[in-house]
Amino acid sequence: MKDKLSKLYLYLVFIFLYAPIIILMIYSFNESKYRVWTGFSLKWYIELFHNRQIMDALYNTIFVAVIASILSTIIGTAAAIGIDGLKKWQKSTVMNVTMLPVLNPDIVTGISLMLLFYIGKLPTGRFTLILAHMSFCIPYVILSVMPKLKQVNAGTYEAALDLGATPALATVKVTLPEIMPGVINGLLMAFTLSIDDFIVSYFTTGPGVENLSILIYNAAKKGVSPSINALSALMFAVILVLLIIINARTNKNAAKA
């Protein structure tokens, strides 16, 4: 009985979280461009693939997210390993600075980075977009790797040195595999933040380089194209399927171990 009640509660929470997403998916099949239902149609899905602007934005979004999240993961992971070896006060200082972009309003981050690029005479474009995304992704990677680093057995690193591995080799062959779950979590988080970001992107990108969020925000006032809804529905479905596959696989691996 109590179990049933808690399950019911959980389902209600899920309904709350998914109601608008389901509506969005349903309305991606709406014939009308507006939020009145006029009939079923696949036309937005078809239009989606002919819309050069959306396709370019999709490409930019994914390109920037992939590059920025990978680079962020590399720098952030190395940073986490290094920060772990700092003195207590240094560590605390660095961690406090690291928290700033997490807590800063996006608009402030965006404008201040834009000014930075301007002062640094960096022409804005995909490159600056990637730098900007890295600047808010790296802290999340660090925050994600740090706790894992705490859990790993410090002994294994020394053991590798003892067996003749140089510090660099020991880090790559021993420490890294051990903190991998945290690294992957950080990578996913960076990827998500990058995909979803609008404001920071808006101020740090250059001519002709729009991502999906910019497209959505710019168009928002005029009414978001249902093709974007269609794209979101597609992306959502892909993510869901991927996650279920990954989850099933990790479960299988866990069962094996």
């Binding site: 057995n153 002994g155 294994t156 020394e158 053991a159 590798a160 040195l161 003892d162 067996l163 003749g164 591995a165 140089t166 510090p167 080799l169 020991a170 062959k173 021993v174 595999p177 051990e178 991998m180 171990a257």
Partner: protein, 347 residues
């Protein structure tokens, strides 16, 4: 002494305010099984880590085969370590763990396979190559940690309480096995433990440490039978340590009686520690000169342990004969079971 493979010369080491080792010197002889024994926090691990290269001394030198290695990084030292908590690589299987050192040295695949297989045979884990680390029991993991070190054929093997986490039965088995391996391969073992029995069982030589200082260095029999001071005596095996007065050579007074002993060279009437092993005390109804009352009796399997109150001292007595709680008993001692020790200034 050319037989010393490792020499620590006047090593000092402190962490922050705390001095762990001060002017510490010791020599470790080649091919020996040397145990560093001491209570928790006395600096055993620190000593081992200095030898392994995981810590740098504040001052002093470390010599390996006569060569100064004080500031050589760990991966360049010709020795290997078995860590207290195994420190196996959890993401690798048994083979990859053991082969790690060889793969770093880029040893040929075939030779690597052979060596790993040989060393696994040595630690009695033949055929475990593809097993997952987490699927192994504690004892098996410990043996993998040993194999992982041995496969590199180090000249010196450092072992930091390698059996600390195992249960009694397994610990005893592993003690024998380790000793066998050391004898067979002739590698110098530097073995850290705080378990006195373990030290006695395995070592050629024992270094008893306390507070960052060497208390005594010698063979197990020396140390057990001729402890240099009350600390060593108390730490190695259970002991009765009682205040005494050295009346003259070969005569000591304690427990209100004069006893003949084998020690000499003390000042007349010097205050001394008298150390007596619980198993050396005899019950003797007729001639026993120490009269006491049995306070408690505990069955220990091989013997009974009795606490016997006599005047102001609680004697611990081990005996296969049991005297019931509350009964009055008479104890006596043979001269060669009485060990006289100079009092240590502090403590």
């Amino acid at each position: 002494m050319s037989n010393a493979i490792i020499k620590l010369e006047n090593i000092s080491k402190s962490f922050g305010e705390e001095d762990i080792l001060e002017n510490f010197s010791v020599e470790i002889a080649r091919h020996e099984f040397v145990t560093i024994l001491g209570p928790s926090g006395c600096g055993k691990t620190t000593t081992l880590r200095l030898i392994g290269g995981f810590e740098l001394p504040d001052s002093g030198r470390i010599l390996f085969d006569g060569e100064d290695i004080t500031s050589l990084p760990p991966y360049k030292r010709r020795l290997n370590t078995v860590f207290q908590k195994y420190a196996l690589f959890p993401h690798m299987n048994v083979f990859d763990n053991v082969a790690f050192g060889l793969s770093i040295k880029k040893v040929d695949k075939k030779i690597m396979k052979e060596k790993v297989s040989d060393v696994l045979k040595l630690v009695n884990l033949k055929g475990f190559e593809n097993r997952n680390i987490s699927s192994l029991s504690g004892g098996q993991q410990q043996r993998i940690a040993i194999a992982r070190a041995l496969v590199n054929e180090p000249e010196v093997l450092l072992l930091d309480e390698p059996l600390g986490a195992l249960d009694l039965k397994l610990r005893q088995e592993m003690q024998l096995e380790l000793k066998k391996i050391q004898t067979k391969l002739g590698i110098t073992f530097i073995y850290v433990t705080h378990d006195q029995e373990e030290a006695l069982t395995m070592s050629d030589e024992i270094i008893v440490m306390n507070d960052g200082q060497i208390q005594q260095k010698g063979t197990p029999v020396d140390i057990y039978n001729e402890p240099k001071n009350a600390f060593v005596a108390g730490f190695i095996g259970e002991s009765n340590i009682i205040d005494g007065i050295m009346k003259k050579d070969l005569l000591v007074q304690f427990a209100g009686q004069d006893f003949v002993c084998l020690d000499s060279g003390f000042d007349e009437n010097e205050l001394v520690d008298v150390v007596i092993r619980p198993e050396d005390i005899k019950f003797d109804k007729e001639n026993g000169r120490i009269k006491g009352t049995v306070q408690s009796v505990v069955f220990k399997g091989v013997h009974y342990e009795m606490h016997i109150r006599a005047e102001n001292f609680d004697w611990i007595v081990h005996s296969t004969a049991m005297e019931p709680e509350g009964s009055t008993v008479f104890l006596d001692l043979y001269p060669n079971d009485i060990h006289i020790m100079r009092k240590v200034a502090e403590e």
